[in-house]
């Protein structure tokens, strides 16, 4: 569905964030991207969704293709309208001073028509907690409700592909679990999902395939199961490796190995 080829992205003309990233997303899957802070995960999503301009970033090399057609340089709104790619930014991208209902309406701006009402009902069915709060300012909702609203808003755009940037940020483990259940349900209803997560364990459990990012490169890819079982990932992302092997020497060894990967 989506292919990224040798992508290089630079911020403010000097800060290189992505180097030679190539990946592909197959229709109907859940793709997990994990990596440390500053590895370029968010930048990748921004680039794919066409928001990179706004953050003063440039694609200097490579191409992004949606079903074989290059979408490099297209506007964010064009990418959303033509290809149904919706980017849910990190940290609950909702409009704080609008009510929950207004938030949903605002998100459906790009495809305004008669079906909005029925679509909104559908969202309220998906997230029953939102229904009684329709007329409350979204800023007063709890963290979990805000994240659900954010996903609801993304659904109002009728996406074919959802790019989720750390939906579990700042949520309690139970709420995270509920959220991931919903993501799995969405996937079953036919939406391709790219999920960027710090919460690697939970994410890899619902994922099908995954990539590991490290300072702007992909250092590992495979099925979610393979990544879960990889020794290095276990040690550095899942934190469940052998206790005695966590010495500085091994960290260096890992870094050296990373360079060669």
């Amino acid at each position: 569905m989506l292919t990224v080829e040798n992508l290089r992205v630079v911020y403010h003309d000097v800060i290189s964030v992505l180097n030679d990233v190539s990946l592909d997303v197959k229709a109907g899957e859940i793709l997990i991207i994990i990596g440390a802070n500053g590895a370029g995960k968010t930048t990748l999503l921004r680039t794919v969704s066409g928001m990179i301009d706004f953050y003063d970033g440039d694609i200097i090399e490579g191409d992004i293709k949606m079903e074989g057609v290059s979408i490099r340089g297209l506007d964010a709104t064009d990418i959303m309208k033509r290809y149904g790619v919706t980017y849910v930014m990190e940290d609950r991208p909702i409009f704080w001073y609008l009510t929950i209902e207004e938030n949903l309406k605002a998100a459906s701006f790009s495809r305004w028509n008669k079906q909005i009402k029925t679509d909104m009902e559908k969202i309220y069915d998906y997230f029953p907690v939102l229904r009684p709060q329709q007329n409350k300012k979204a800023g007063y909702a709890s963290g979990g409700e805000q994240q659900m609203l954010a996903i609801g808003m993304a659904l109002m755009t009728r996406p074919k592909m959802l790019l989720l940037d750390e939906p579990s940020l700042g949520l309690a483990p139970l709420v995270t679990e509920e959220l991931f259940d919903i993501i799995r349900q969405l996937n079953r209803s036919g939406i391709t999902i790219v999920l960027v997560e710090q919460n690697a364990h939970a994410a890899l459990n619902i994922g099908i395939r995954g990539y590991v990012f490290e300072t702007g490169r992909i250092v590992l890819d495979g099925t979610a199961q393979e990544i879960l079982e990889n020794e290095d990932v276990k040690e550095f992302y899942l934190g469940s490796g052998e206790r005695e092997s966590k010495s500085y020497k091994d960290a260096k060894r890992y870094k050296r190995r990373k360079r060669w990967l």
């Binding site: 969704s49 928001m51 301009d53 706004f54 953050y55 003063d56 506007d75 964010a76 709104t77 959303m80 309208k81 919706t86 980017y87 849910v88 930014m89 991208p93 909702i94 409009f95 704080w96 001073y97 609008l98 207004e102 938030n103 309406k105 605002a106 998100a107 701006f109 790009s110 495809r111 305004w112 808003m153 993304a154 109002m156 755009t157």
Partner: protein, 355 residues
């Protein structure tokens, strides 16, 4: 007592015009966190555009030709690069617009010879003039603000400062700096109750400003475009991520703002004459928005009326004591007092900052 009522009444009527000025600043500030310092110049240009249409004012052919050329370059450029049209379509479209502008400025609209009723003439020229002013605002946004989208709001504010000087020089080049007589000749609706007397012009100014203010608010709070504007005001990046074209919304906001400023400009010109130095009236918007709160639409209304009343009171009661010119200073004194008590203005959102 009659004196006081008279003063308060005229203060409120002028205040309604100031409220409109404040609204223009507030909607731009909300949507891009920029303070539009070029408001005075927008005000003169809006008034001059209306003047050209209404009074059939023409300018020499070489000036009109230059204007037409600028418009041609601008439109062909925008259509070619921004709308991704082919040069084959963009060039002729630019030429047509440029030629139209040339014709309007060189030959005039000839409304006065076609229509004798001045009110009907006003009813035609007013929307046309406002449309022209709105388009002008949108043009300015495309050239100066759009390239800075996503940068710091301070950068845009500084740009509007420079823009103000540039536009002022342009107006002086095109129309000169002498005063133009300005008389709308609207139907007389002077109100005379007992000893109270309110002249027709301020009443018209108040009514039209109030109507435009109401229309803008209805647009913002009742339509889906208004919802998109409010969403974009909160966060441009989030709005873009949900498929709202933030760049176009910003264009729309600047257009609406320029349109409202033109209304205020026309109404203020109608009190006296139209000339370049009138741009300083635009700066009266500063106390208005600061008193009302920079990000509150209701605050703009309250601030406008307060400033109008304050000015009228100072003019009626303080100036006769020998303080000539105190009228112009009084709003700023009021501003100081308000800011001492409420640093965010009367209705501004108190920003919570943790230290």
């Amino acid at each position: 007592m009659i004196d006081l009522l008279q003063t308060l009444g005229s203060g409120v009527l002028v205040g309604l015009v100031y409220a409109l000025l404040g609204l223009c600043i507030v909607i731009i500030f909300k949507s891009s966190e920029t303070f539009n310092f070029a408001i005075g110049e927008f005000l003169i240009i809006g008034s001059f555009l209306f003047y050209t249409l209404f009074f059939n004012e023409t300018i020499p052919w070489y000036k009109a030709l230059q204007l037409g050329a600028v418009i041609f370059l601008f439109f062909s450029f925008i259509l070619f690069y921004d709308k991704n049209l082919r040069l084959r379509i963009a060039l002729p479209l630019g030429m047509v617009t440029g030629f139209l502008i040339f014709c309007v400025f060189f030959f005039g609209l000839k409304l006065s010879s076609l229509i004798t009723s001045s009110f009907l003439r006003f009813a035609i020229a007013f929307p046309l003039g406002l449309l022209a002013a709105g388009l002008f605002g949108a043009m300015v946004e495309r050239v100066t603000i759009k390239p800075l989208l996503g940068r710091s709001p301070i950068a845009m504010t500084i740009v509007t400062l420079g823009l103000g000087f540039f536009l002022r020089a342009c107006v002086q080049l095109i129309w000169g700096s002498h005063a133009y007589p300005f008389f709308l000749d609207l139907p007389d609706i002077t109100v005379e109750v007992g000893d109270l007397l309110f002249l027709s012009d301020p009443i018209w100014a108040g009514i039209i400003s109030l109507i435009i203010f109401g229309l803008v608010i209805a647009f913002l709070f009742r339509t889906r475009w208004g919802l998109a504007i409010r969403a974009t005001s909160e966060d441009q990046a989030k709005a873009m991520a949900f498929g709202i074209n933030a760049r176009f919304i910003l264009l729309l906001v600047w257009g609406i703002s320029a349109l409202c400023i033109a209304v205020a400009g026309i109404m203020i010109s109608n009190f006296g004459a139209l000339q370049v130095s009138m741009g300083f009236v635009g700066l009266r918007a500063i106390p208005v928005v600061l008193i009302g709160g920079m990000d509150s639409i209701g605050g703009a209304m309250a601030g406008g009326i307060l400033v109008g009343i304050c000015e009228a009171l100072a003019g009626a009661y303080v100036e006769p004591l020998g303080l000539v010119g105190f009228k112009a200073v009084a709003p700023y004194l009021l501003l100081l007092i308000v800011l001492f008590i409420r640093p965010y203005g009367l209705f501004g959102t108190v920003r919570i900052e943790r230290v």
